[in-house]
Symmetry: C2
Subunit: 136 residues, 2 copies
DNA sequence: ATACTGTCCGTACCATAGTACAGGGTTCCA
DNA sequence: TGGAACCCTGTACTATGGTACGGACAGTAT
């Protein structure tokens, strides 16, 4: 089976070498086999694992949560329901973030629309005023 | 005019005392007047300013950007257009964040829907499988 | 042989947004 | 007059997700 050095793994997986070691320290990557001279030896599984980590990060999981997911995976005593629960929690988080950002977006849009005078002094800028007045 | 100690300001504005001093260090709050004994003396304006900061944070501005907005306000040479530009930039950011999160949400929803077996071992969990297969 | 590249490890550092704490001084009230 | 409660400063620490660097080996190329 093909093996990779840490540099090759990093290249293939699209991360930094330092990041690979960082992930290892954080328990996201298993301690790899070493060559006689002590260099890390990786396989395709490790590339897949880094892809998994990147994908999970895209999905809004923190490294700690990803470590959790990966440990669930290793420890097969846990059920699919456990994983589902984590995903559901995350779904809730994401939904909340979207809701909040939409509110933010709306205010910004209103502000930008109002702010049409390009050369008025800022002490009468509607953005600042709106933010100042708009606090509860 | 009524004045407030740093503790009272923190209380009224809903932040920590340390945060008030932290904001001062970062240039978000002006250096306040001091009593003879050296205690900071704040006014309603400072409360409003912290509300402004909190509001702007809610709107997705970083402390650095907020400092920028606040300095624009003080320095009246700058125009409303400058402020508008910052807000427009932020609007773009926010729109991107919403788009990404929606994508994430969709994937999570699909995953959770698929994951209906509550007692299957994790080595056949569709979420983990989907994440592993789902990398490009 | 020696220079170059890659890897090793540990440590320190980056930004962000604070929080905590040590070791003092001040103010207030009984 | 003494203690509680507040304030002062500066520094160090938290978490997150890495990045950078120094000094030492290893393997390869010319």
């Amino acid at each position: 089976m093909q093996t990779f050095s840490v540099g090759q793994l990093a290249q293939n997986a699209g991360v930094n070498i330092e990041t690979v070691r960082f992930y290892e320290k954080r328990g996201l990557l298993p301690m790899p086999k070493r060559t006689k001279s002590g260099c890390r030896q990786y396989t395709n599984k490790d590339i897949a694992r880094i892809h998994f980590i990147k994908r999970a990060k895209e999905l809004g999981f923190s490294l700690m949560e990803i470590a959790e997911l990966l440990s669930l995976k290793i420890n097969s005593e846990t059920t699919c329901g456990d994983v589902k629960k984590i995903a559901l929690d995350k779904l809730l988080d994401v939904a909340t973030k979207i809701r909040d950002l939409k509110r933010i977006k709306k205010v910004l849009e209103e502000l930008v629309t109002v702010c049409n005078k390009d050369n008025s002094a800022t002490n009468e800028c509607p953005i600042l005023e709106a933010l100042e007045i708009g606090n509860e």
